[in-house]
């Protein structure tokens, strides 16, 4: 058996936390890009486009992320694509994030007075210009707090990718725990590392929320 000192455990966990951070960032960026596309579908004038986007959002918000990851991990090979846990993790979390972000941002679009659209139209802007110049900047700025709040949720969700074999913080901690039999220490440290990553963001989201409420 390998001997682990306390610092060995901490060092290994911190090294694994890199992947948690990287995965969170990749999924957030990917989710934002795909989420924008879903948002366009969700607020389009065409009824079918809106329905498809609603269905997409309902599907991802109505099923467990773990199932979505399993389907990604086992489904893509069925289409003939060999897939690494990393790819499945990024793709799975990207789709998951896109549904939530699209819904958050749509609530921002809905919160804008209709006059904003009318004013844009009366200035002679066409639909895309209106969205880009008037609607979306305002929608993003009023939904900043829930967007940051979702980022916290996304970071925590990366823990699930350990189950499909992605070597991040939780999977590494399982391996260390199997070698050291000190679950209290190991999982306690993992919880602490997640807390250090998430708590500042939670506080930031709270501050944004208060600022928005004061306005």
């Amino acid at each position: 058996m390998i001997e682990f000192t306390f610092w060995d455990i901490v060092r290994n966990l911190l090294l694994a936390a890199r992947w948690t951070v990287l995965l969170s960032l990749a999924a957030f960026v990917g989710g934002a890009v795909v989420g924008m596309v879903i948002l366009f579908f969700r607020i389009a004038k065409n009824k079918w486009s809106r329905r498809i986007a609603s269905g997409y959002i309902a599907l991802f918000q109505g099923t467990p992320l773990l199932m979505q990851l399993f389907l990604m991990f086992f489904g893509l090979p069925m289409l003939g694509l060999r897939i690494e846990p990393w790819t499945a993790a990024v793709l799975g979390l990207t789709f998951f994030a896109s549904a939530y972000l699209a819904e958050i941002w749509r609530s921002g679009v809905d919160a804008l007075p209709l006059g904003q659209w009318d004013a844009g139209a009366s200035l002679g802007l066409h639909y895309l210009q209106e969205l880009r110049l008037i609607i979306l900047p305002q929608a993003f700025s009023i939904t900043r707090a829930p967007t940051v709040g979702f980022l916290v949720q996304l970071i925590k969700s990366t823990a699930l990718t350990s189950i499909i074999g992605f070597e991040e913080l939780v999977r590494t901690s399982n391996a260390i725990n199997n070698a050291t039999f000190e679950p209290f220490k190991v999982y306690g440290l993992v919880a602490l590392i997640f807390f250090v990553m998430c708590f500042p963001l939670t506080q930031y989201a709270r501050k944004l929320e208060q600022r928005a409420a004061a306005r």
Partner: protein, 218 residues
């Protein structure tokens, strides 16, 4: 895709779904009860209790449920507390949900105007009666939609308790795919079952809430 295995697997899927439903039913009741105590304590308790509840809420909300589950299931035995997987899952789910619902219930309590308490006290009700009979029902009405969402989210999150071998829906899916070698189809079917369950749960909570609380939930 091949679904020939499906008819023979329906029993297992139904059993797994029943366990998932049991888990969320217990969690909802225990979690809501705990969060009412927690929210009341955070507002009216002694300073030390207020602070302890605050720390509890922040710690749970800023760490993954999976880690909390492992901490309870693998960690507690080293303190001499050995829990059955189902009990460990219920405990972890309840503690996790309570942290979120303490905030929700708290927001509801804050939303009830202070005049309600004053009026009730003036009528001669004791503080506890005021809380249970006047403030709480109004607060629950306000927060009911948020509570409903949290319960549905918790049910979806319960998929990870399969990792400590609780024989719920996801665990049965794992067993099935190991037996049938049709992993994609198995997870597809089980995902659909989850979707139906979450929609049904939401519908049930909305109608139930309307009937009992008269809460306006869409």
């Amino acid at each position: 895709m091949a679904f020939a295995w499906l008819p023979g697997a329906l029993g297992d899927i139904a059993r797994g779904a029943a366990t998932t439903i049991l888990l969320i039913a217990v969690t909802t009741l225990a979690g809501t009860f705990l969060s009412i105590l927690g929210a009341a304590g955070r507002r009216n308790g002694p300073v030390l209790l207020k602070r302890a509840i605050g720390v509890y809420v922040e710690v749970v909300r800023n760490t993954p449920f999976l880690v909390q589950l492992f901490f309870i299931f693998f960690g507690l035995p080293s303190l001499g507390i050995r829990l059955d997987p189902v009990l460990a899952a219920m405990l972890a789910m309840t503690l996790n949900m309570a942290a979120y619902t303490i905030e929700i219930v708290g927001a509801g309590l804050d939303a009830v105007p202070g005049g309600q308490t004053e009026a009730a006290l003036a009528l001669g009700l004791r503080p506890r009666q005021v809380f249970i009979k006047i403030v709480l029902p109004q607060a629950l009405k306000v927060i009911y939609p948020a509570l409903t969402s949290q319960i549905v989210i918790m049910m979806l999150e319960s998929a990870v308790v399969s990792q400590i071998a609780v024989r719920e829906l996801t665990y049965e899916a794992d067993m099935l795919q190991a037996r049938t070698f049709r992993s994609f189809e198995t997870y597809l079917v089980v995902t659909v079952v989850y979707l139906v369950l979450s929609m049904a749960l939401r519908r049930l909570l909305v109608t139930g809430g309307r009937r009992v609380l008269g809460a306006g939930v869409s």
